[in-house]
């Protein structure tokens, strides 16, 4: 078995998103120099915050080889409830608590569907997607809600000179990264993703790990919904729509594998989210046809998943068992 070519292949596959990013920067930079300014960079980062946060939660789920298609609906539902409360005169902190609670509740529902009722992840979360969105539409009565000013102020205010969205983003990323890298729970998530059966034999409580990641995903979706709400100042019926897509794309572009066990939040998922946002911002700056956005985004996602599948196939081929040592082995 030739190792050198497959090693090079893996290297190429692992670094294509980076090359893609460079390509995006170069292409848009050439077309519109405004793209490469610091102000634009900060802007892109702030705009990418909600996607990055949802993608962080999604990373946890993807690490266990699962998927959560309901995150957009959870964002919407949380935002709808918070908006309703805010418009009804409730204080800010009540709305925040409500959103968090909804995120955790929805995540728990997903967790139960997947671990207890053994429904395939994508169908289960597809179901909660519809139920969640339905509930949200009911609460907002399918109208857009404009939020009171104190809410919007949250989205554009700064603490110590740093915009609040960035603070929230940083907070979520750092905590998520710390959990995945430095806690026993986090390492067990990776173990379950690598091989759930071996994990079980090793004494890891696999159902608890699986359930937890969906709760985490729900929580992150809720936080992202809160942030997005504060940034937009309104809840339209299309709030959070297709965010699950962007989240999966961000994670996969950042190196997380759909097949489980591989991936990280910092720099991976953050990078993926920024890449996607740069793409969108770039398209806006060069005045590209807005109708092209979904085309470009889906093409990128397709590419990301293709790379992931290719890498998975190469790794599988490399780890095939050898039953004899060839004479020239070291």
């Amino acid at each position: 078995m030739k190792h050198a070519p497959t090693g090079a292949l893996l290297l190429a596959l692992n670094n294509t998103p980076l090359a893609l990013f460079a390509g995006v920067l170069i292409a848009f930079g050439l077309l519109a120099p405004k793209f490469l300014t610091a102000a634009n960079a900060a802007n892109v980062l702030i705009q990418s915050a909600p996607t990055a946060i949802v993608a962080t939660g999604m990373t946890f789920v993807l690490l266990t080889a699962g998927v959560d298609l309901s995150v957009g609906a959870i964002m919407f539902l949380g935002a709808a409830v918070a908006g309703k409360l805010a418009l009804g005169g409730a204080p800010l902190w009540a709305a925040v608590i409500a959103i968090i609670a909804i995120g955790i509740a929805c995540g728990t529902v997903n967790a139960l569907l997947v671990t207890r009722l053994r429904i395939i992840a994508f169908i289960a979360t597809l179901g909660t997607l519809y139920v969640g969105r339905g509930l949200g539409l009911r609460i907002t009565e399918t109208r857009a809600m404009n939020l009171p000013d104190n809410f919007v102020a949250l989205g554009s205010s700064r603490v110590l000179g740093v915009p609040v969205p960035l603070l929230v983003l940083a907070g979520v990323l750092v905590i998520a990264h710390a959990v995945l890298r430095h806690t026993p729970f986090g390492r067990q998530v990776y173990a379950v993703g690598a091989d759930a059966e071996v994990a079980r034999k090793a004494g890891i409580r696999v159902p608890i790990i699986l359930a937890s990641v969906y709760v985490i995903s729900g929580l992150c979706a809720a936080i992202a919904g809160l942030l997005s709400l504060a940034q937009l100042g309104a809840v339209a019926p299309t709030f959070g729509s297709q965010k699950e897509f962007a989240a999966i794309a961000a994670a996969v572009l950042g190196g997380t594998s759909l097949f489980g066990g591989r991936g990280n939040v910092l720099p991976g998922t953050l990078f993926g989210a920024v890449l996607i946002q740069s793409l969108e911002s770039g398209l806006v700056i060069v005045n590209a046809d807005p109708y092209l956005y979904p085309l470009v985004t889906s093409a990128i996602i397709f590419l990301a998943v293709l790379l992931d599948s290719a890498r998975s196939a190469v790794l599988a081929r490399l780890s095939r068992r050898r039953i004899r040592q060839e004479p020239e082995s070291t």
Binding site: P184, R187, Y190, A202, I323, R324, Q325, T330
Partner: protein
């Protein structure tokens, strides 16, 4: 450090009515290394699975330090200090060595769920040093060689303060240098007083490493004692067994095969040559002498077939009407060879010729078109669509022959007739209807369905991998008859098996494989159990 005295007392286990362990009893003294040897199917894995908490015995008991030991899960066994290093390593490739070792017991900082990395790496480094592995604890396991991974598994055993270490075929995937390193480690562990059970087919290694040796055959202990009481020859003759209950059809060549029990007096432990029992029958196709092999033009010719890491320089030929056996122990490369022949895996070098025609690129589809058939060793995973009906399974390969026109319109009547015909030919149990899912059938009947599927395309060369695995005695006989019938009809049959007896009873010639190579070839006249086993054990030939 107290080490356990382990006792097995009349451990008995059967699977689906087939006995696998019969009242196995032996002791493992504290601090000793016990070598456990036996052929495939002798019961070693089952016994170890019982010890390791994966299975429960039907009868019998185990004792550790004179206290009853009945683990209900691997975790129970681990808690009593038993560490199992399997052939299939249980490691997480995406994690580091340190993380693998402490995945359920990370050292924490101040009691919080925060991994104390410095402490983690320190402890890991200490363990690795004991094992002689000078690699950073931070290394991801996927970057380690197989030998290094194995040492990590052993390290894991030490990390849980194991008092009994079980090693199952540890040297199969190791090169010479890694094997040496492993043995040095085992010697150190032995000096520390760790009790070990060492399972291996490499008899010289077993003799070198063990204090005591236990030999299993057909689920029974047929020999145990101090190492000094054994040598390779004695071990081989103890391992070689005779199943006195299996009937083998004789090859008459003239018609229906007749059954004949092989008397023990014909084949005793001393004289291992088996006299030909075939009556001289008239052969219509090839006017050769009765004791000569069938038609000389080879049906299948393989020259220099190699695939790095899998098989090396395989050459043999198969003639029409011949039953060629391939014997080898687990990991010898027989199934891998079969898959190469059928086109399921690519091969690097070498040539395959079918009826004189070279086959450059082979895929299962082209193989079938050329007249090859392949009954895999795992019928449930690769041989059957378990939830599909008997009829659908039987018809699967030959469907194309019942098509009319370009649309692939199926002639259901002709399919039905073919299926019914084949059902009778293989004597499938009449109680199951054609539309019942094959899942419900017994192992023997399931295997007959797979065989029927292939027989319908009238293959020229049939490759059978473990055709009677997990099948009761009666069904085995029927399958033997079918195999011989096939050969009588002019096909060439390649039978891969781990049961020497089976091959001795069925085949005209036997190839013996070990470590991906063909080590020996025996014609019927010189069939010799010990010679076969020796070759398979890659032990040196006896003088």
């Amino acid at each position: 450090m107290t080490t356990p005295q382990l006792q097995f007392e009349r451990i008995t286990k059967a699977f689906a009515g087939v006995p696998v362990l019969r009242e196995v009893s032996f002791d493992v003294p504290a601090g000793a290394t016990v070598g456990l040897v036996g052929e495939n199917g002798a019961g070693k894995s089952t016994l170890m699975n019982i010890l390791g908490g994966n299975l429960a015995p039907d009868a019998g008991r185990m004792w550790i330090d004179d206290e009853p030991f009945a683990p209900r899960s691997p975790i129970d066994a681990a808690r009593r200090g038993i560490a199992f290093v399997h052939q299939e390593l249980n490691l997480f490739l995406n994690l580091t060595i340190a993380e693998n070792l402490f995945i359920t017991g990370f050292p924490r900082t101040a009691g919080l769920p925060w991994i104390a990395r410095a402490e983690l790496h320190r402890r890991t480094a200490t363990l690795l040093a004991e094992v002689g592995l000078t690699i950073s604890p931070r290394t991801p396991v996927e970057r380690l060689s197989t030998g290094e991974r194995q040492l990590v598994e052993i390290t894991r055993a030490l990390s849980i303060d194991a008092r009994l270490l079980i090693l199952d075929e540890p040297t199969t995937s190791l090169g010479a240098r890694e094997t040496r390193r492993l043995f040095e480690l085992l010697a150190r562990l032995r000096a520390r007083g760790l009790t070990m059970i060492y399972i291996s087919h490499t008899l010289e290694d077993v003799l070198r490493l063990s204090d005591r040796i236990v030999v299993l055959r057909d689920g029974e202990v047929v020999g145990q004692g101090a190492r000094g009481e054994f040598d390779v020859s004695r071990l081989v003759s103890l391992m070689v067994g005779r199943s006195l209950t299996q009937l083998y059809p004789t090859r008459t060549r003239a018609g229906v095969p007749a059954a004949r029990r092989r008397e023990p007096s014909e084949v005793s432990a001393g004289q291992n040559a088996i006299a030909p029992t075939r009556p001289s029958a008239h052969r219509t196709e090839v006017g050769a002498e009765p004791s000569a092999l069938p038609s000389s033009a080879p049906l299948l010719e393989v020259r220099g077939l190699s695939q790095p890491g899998v098989v090396h320089d395989i050459s043999f030929s198969l003639t029409a009407g011949e039953v060629l056996g391939v014997f080898g122990l687990m990991g010898a490369g027989r199934s891998e060879l079969a898959r190469l022949l059928f086109g399921l895996e690519p091969h690097g070098a070498g040539e395959i010729r079918l009826e004189g025609r070279a086959l450059p690129r082979i895929t299962p589809q082209s193989a079938i078109r050329q007249g090859l058939a392949f009954l895999t060793e795992n019928r449930r995973d690769e041989g059957l669509c378990l939830h599909a009906s008997i009829a659908d399974n039987i018809a699967l390969v030959s469907l194309r022959e019942h098509c009319r026109g370009a649309t692939g319109w199926l002639d259901l009547d002709s399919i039905g007739r073919a299926v019914r015909r084949m059902r009778e030919a293989v004597r499938l149990t009449p109680t199951a209807s054609n539309s019942a899912p094959v899942k419900l059938l017994s192992g023997g009947n399931q295997q007959k369905v797979v065989l029927a599927k292939w027989l319908l395309v009238q293959p020229r060369v049939l490759i059978l991998d473990e055709p009677t695995r997990g099948i009761d005695v009666g069904a085995k006989f029927e399958i033997y008859q079918l195999i011989l019938g096939l050969a009588d009809g002019g096909a060439g049959v390649l039978v891969i098996s781990s049961e020497i007896e089976e091959l001795l009873g069925l085949c005209d010639r036997i190839l013996v494989m070990s470590r991906g190579e063909i080590r020996d070839e025996l014609r019927r006249e010189v069939f010799d159990r010990e010679r076969i086993l020796r070759a398979a054990l890659h032990a040196s030939k006896a003088a």
